[in-house]
Symmetry: C2
Subunit: 300 residues, 2 copies
């Protein structure tokens, strides 16, 4: 499964039982945490996120509502005997902020923690199943979005057909890699005769905090789903602009221009006690919009 | 009213809907926050604590479960336009930890923040109504308890009696300060004839994290209420000792030896899903024991 679960959808100050930004991207049994506002570890308990499956944490920027829960999570992982290595990506000086707090508490983590500072668009993870990249967004301080792109999967073997043509099992992996098979008498069994096309890899992009900026389009173009902030309703465009945030219609406009399939909106200002208008305004421009409600898991 | 409201009563890792350490001491309309584990600002919302009334924060030590919520609180105060000065007391390098996080976020607080490092037993506040002192406890890292002592109030004027003896109103304040009044003919009106004794000032002591240590007794002797940690039940004395924590019976024993009136127990280990045994064990030694349950306000 490739999905994202929302742990926090509010901006700045917790309010109306909404929490600061955090979400978990799940892919192939791994949990990737994106941002970690205060209380994220408690939200993980509330929504039954398996903390032991978290191998990577991505911090978009060092405004508190996006990372004040990180140090508590790192600490708790150690108290809970987290087994695997943990990689944390975020802007400088994240490592120094973590280190001073571990040092003063005389805390020796029980797992290997690797903090990687990011400072430009770059590839952060590249395995045979997934690529994670970061790219700068347009915010008041240094800030990054993160894209999660599944690798194209191997073609699917049609076992009965492969047997019918007497293709030896040892050749099956090469069939999945789209090779043709040549029988002893020289007959060519075309790959398409014994395999089906692979599902194309899907793509999710977390656009972090940002004002409306078409420079983001190359990073999100054609994505299956993006998350874009909508701190304000559209009548507060000027305020949004001055604070390096976006409105409902701006997020929807960007999703439309980039030709994405689905838009999640969040990072709602604490001035709003209800969210219906956010959904309605964005859908005027981009109907496939969903509110990033806490606890909801969106399949990508 | 002089009271303490519990916001978090768990140790180390949040569990069973229990939160890390925090409590609010209310006196004469002011709120004094004692420790500030992650999520404290959300607990304040849950329990309707008036954040605008907080003028002082006391941090016992720099283990995360006692202060990871502080930076978020300081940040939110600014976003919520906190008006009054805020004084934070805690061990070094608390100020540096706060400063680096404000600086990287380019945050200018809208109120005056004063961070005071504490490093020995000392008086932190001394007004005409309240004295707050800190004292070292016996923990793995530098750690302080805090005592809140009401000043003795002025004696209470019996107005009818004062009028009966024709004492001029201008002298009433001196009567409250226990002076006798001498009439023109030399007759002495003894103070006790026109005033009643003042209520003695009450005392609450937060003993922070500590192993059993009778060196604490001078600081808590005769208190109306103390909070003492009971991380473990009494069958885990060795574990408690090795981790610089205390058990139920140890907390109760100390309360008894110090002749306090009431004992609150908390900082429960996440290994326990229920708390009844904590209460039962402590009450065997010290019957006036209460569990420091979250959301409960205990009048001192």
């Amino acid at each position: 499964m490739f999905a994202v679960t929302i742990l926090g959808n509010n901006s700045a100050v917790p309010a109306f039982n909404r929490h600061p930004t955090s979400q978990v991207v799940t892919h192939d049994g791994n949990n990737y945490l994106v941002d970690c506002g205060e209380g994220t570890q408690i939200q993980m308990i509330n929504y039954k996120i398996r903390r032991s499956k978290i191998s990577h944490v991505f911090i978009s920027h060092l405004h508190g509502d996006h990372y004040f829960g990180l140090i508590g999570l790192l600490n708790s992982f150690s108290l809970l005997s987290h087994q695997q290595e943990l990689h944390v990506f975020g802007p400088s000086p994240l490592k120094e902020i973590i280190d001073i707090q571990l040092k003063v508490a005389d805390t020796k983590l029980c797992y290997a923690l690797h903090v990687h500072h990011i400072n430009k668009a770059s590839t952060l993870i590249d395995t045979d199943k997934l690529t994670v990249k970061c790219f700068p967004t347009n915010h008041r301080i240094e800030c990054y979005g993160f894209s999660f792109k599944e690798k194209k999967q191997p073609r699917k073997l049609i076992l009965d057909k492969a047997k019918e043509y007497s293709i030896p099992a040892i050749f099956y992996e090469r069939l999945k890699d789209a090779e043709d098979y040549i029988q002893k008498d020289g007959t060519v069994i075309k790959n398409e005769q014994v395999t089906e096309p692979a599902e194309p890899g899907k793509k999710y992009v977390f656009c972090a905090d940002t004002k409306y900026d078409e420079a983001l389009i190359p990073h999100i173009k054609g994505a299956d789903m993006i998350y874009h902030e909508t701190t304000y309703l559209d009548n507060l465009r000027e305020r949004a602009e001055s604070r390096f945030h976006a409105t409902t219609k701006q997020a929807a406009e960007l999703a439309k221009k980039a030709g994405v399939k689905k838009l999640l909106i969040g990072h709602f200002s604490s001035k709003y006690d209800t969210l219906e208008e956010f959904e309605a305004e964005a859908r005027e421009i981009f109907p496939a919009t969903e509110l990033a409600l806490e606890g909801v898991c969106f399949e990508i």
